[in-house]
């Protein structure tokens, strides 16, 4: 029996090796992608772009070329669309967080679109990029977009054994996870209320002293919110509004843009960079610091 299995296994390995030769490689890692779907259909001649920016009226008989983005952001918030880094349109999301933006296009092209959402309290999401192949005469639809929750904390330092309050907005009545990472990791799950708001006072009792990051995400999604840093130490220190908790934001304007990128570029490869530039506090400015800056980019 065992001998027979061994033979079968060897034959399987042989077949696998031959199959692998045909494909030159085989995947060792399986990963999830987000639940966004893309489709294209022959465009109509109706005016599009409820968010503004497109022309109204249509050339009769000539199909329009357009791109539509739809999904969920935050209840009664806004969603802004950028094309190649330039803001084109802002639309409101409804009470369920649903939004839709349609943009008229002219060319058959590979275009980089970006979206960000703002919740009703004014908190901005991270940037989401969609490079899309646009076909002339077609309406290309990207549906199922879902912005990760927004996140705020009440303290920058939490006394050992005390509590951290985390709050923000997401889609109403959805399960979300609050993930605390640092010397130790802890995950809390909760559900947003019918207005999309969530707040949780997290007991940090068992977590050791040190620097931590907290983020929020939907339980069934891979995209995470901003990472917000806090320390577990000897005191409770409340968040002060005029301070920044964004790595690389040296000018404390709560914006990560070309100015912050240029300051980082100035220190790239130089010794003794200022603390605010060194996003991961390793005393070196390298590609990792640029990656962290790109994660928090607001434009």
């Amino acid at each position: 029996m065992a001998k027979n299995f061994s033979k079968k296994f060897l034959v399987f390995l042989l077949l696998l090796s031959l199959f692998s030769y045909r494909n030159t490689s085989f995947a060792l890692i399986l990963v999830d992608t987000e639940n966004v779907s893309i489709s294209a259909q022959v465009g109509n001649t109706l005016p599009v772009n409820p968010g503004g920016g497109g022309s109204s009226g249509g050339s009769v008989g000539i199909p329009k070329t357009s791109v539509r983005f739809s999904g969920f952001a935050y209840p009664n918030g806004t969603v802004t669309l950028l094309k190649e880094g330039i803001e084109l349109a802002t639309v409101s999301s409804d009470s369920s967080g649903a939004f839709s933006i349609t943009l008229e296009e002219s060319f058959n092209k590979n275009i980089l679109y970006s979206l960000f959402a703002t919740d009703s309290a004014g908190n901005r999401s991270l940037l989401i990029n969609y490079p899309i192949v646009v076909y002339t005469g077609y309406l290309t639809q990207l549906s199922g977009i879902r912005f990760p929750p927004t996140i705020n904390i009440d303290k920058t330092e939490v006394k050992v054994g005390d509590y951290l309050t985390v709050s923000g907005y997401a889609v109403p009545n959805e399960d979300i996870e609050l993930v605390i990472e640092g010397p130790e990791k802890k995950v809390f799950t909760l559900t947003t209320n019918n207005k999309g708001f969530y707040t949780a006072t997290l007991p940090l009792g068992t977590l050791a002293k040190g620097d931590y990051l907290v983020s929020a995400k939907y339980s069934n999604d891979t995209r995470i919110s901003k990472l917000v840093s806090f320390t577990i130490g000897d005191n409770n220190i409340a968040v002060i509004k005029n301070t920044t908790n964004i790595p690389g934001d040296c000018n404390v304007d709560h914006i990560i843009n070309i100015v912050d990128f240029s300051i980082l570029a100035f220190w790239y490869g130089k010794l003794n960079p200022p603390k605010c530039v060194d996003t991961n506090s390793d005393n070196t400015i390298n590609l990792t610091d640029f990656s962290i800056l790109a994660f928090y980019w607001t434009g």
Binding site: L142, V259, F261, T288
Partner: protein
């Protein structure tokens, strides 16, 4: 029987060169057959295997006896913000940049799943006939996870065959256009900041990319520079000109006025105060 199977397996692994690769890969795509004199495109793209990526740092090797580097195109690529735009040195082309917000793949309704992410398109000119390979000598890809985690990936190069014959332009490079207009911004250093005041600038050239920038201050010669450029404030305002030069030596110039320590309005105020003092002194002297 067992021995035969073992031998077959081991032989097949060696003969067919089975490579264990990762879900993610970075690849070079070039057309296989090129004519001498052609300028052709080489696309560098990443299949991120379902991971969001936001930073890249690459060094590409090419057979410099066969082909020469002729520039790059960014229009179709997702890297718009270069830490260092594609530059050639000793048969290697290096470039690094970021994609703010990260990217997962290209969304194409005509393709099943996400397509590979085009980073940039390198341009080469075929010099003589022969065969060679364009490959990576370094490739670093970082995830958009807020930590800059490195993405494990495999590298796939591309073989090129250059043949004698009538040149057929496939890449279509007749770069007569000058680089796009650009803005120069002045970032003033704060009082206790270790970062000096500096000017920043960035532009593109559709046909062949930006080869280099040069800057010129009043009374000085042109010198090669890259953004950001530290500047020191003089007593009076200073005009700085930045020249963006593409790979075909077309250029565009833009300028910025760096404010001086003594601004005109302050000088005017000082003058007014001085004149007022003189007038007051004379008035008092007359009354006494």
């Amino acid at each position: 029987m067992k021995k035969i199977i073992y031998t077959l397996i081991i032989t097949s692994f060696f003969l067919f060169g089975v490579r264990i690769s990762f879900a993610a890969s970075v690849s070079i795509s070039a057309q296989e057959f090129i004519k001498v004199g052609d300028t052709f495109e080489v696309i560098v793209s990443v299949d991120s295997g379902g991971e969001l990526i936001n930073s890249i740092d690459m060094v590409v090797d090419y057979p410099e006896d066969l082909i020469s580097f002729a520039g790059y195109k960014t229009e179709e690529g997702v890297v718009k913000l270069w830490i260092s735009s594609p530059k050639e040195a000793n048969g290697k082309i290096s470039f690094s940049g970021i994609i703010p917000g990260g990217v997962l793949g290209v969304y194409d309704a005509n393709q099943k799943g996400l397509s590979a992410i085009p980073l940039t398109t390198l341009l080469f000119k075929a010099k003589i006939s022969g065969a060679g390979e364009i490959s990576f000598s370094k490739s670093e890809i970082l995830k958009n996870d807020g930590h800059g985690t490195s993405l494990t990936h495999s590298e796939i190069g591309s073989v090129i065959n250059i043949k004698e014959g009538n040149s057929v332009q496939t890449g279509g490079i007749e770069d007569k256009g000058i680089p796009e207009p650009f803005l120069i911004s002045f970032i003033e250093s704060s009082l206790f900041s270790a970062t000096p005041s500096m000017i920043i600038f960035n532009t593109n050239d559709r046909e062949s990319g930006i080869k280099e920038y040069q800057i010129k201050s009043a009374g000085e010669d042109w010198k090669v520079a890259s953004s950001p450029v530290p500047v020191t404030k003089a007593l009076f305002s200073n005009n700085i000109v930045v020249r963006a030069i593409d790979f075909n030596n077309n250029y565009r110039e833009e300028s910025i006025e760096i404010p001086g320590l003594l601004r005109a309005k302050y000088l005017f105020l000082i003058l007014i105060l001085l004149l007022s003092s003189v007038w007051l002194y004379k008035l008092l002297k007359y009354k006494i």
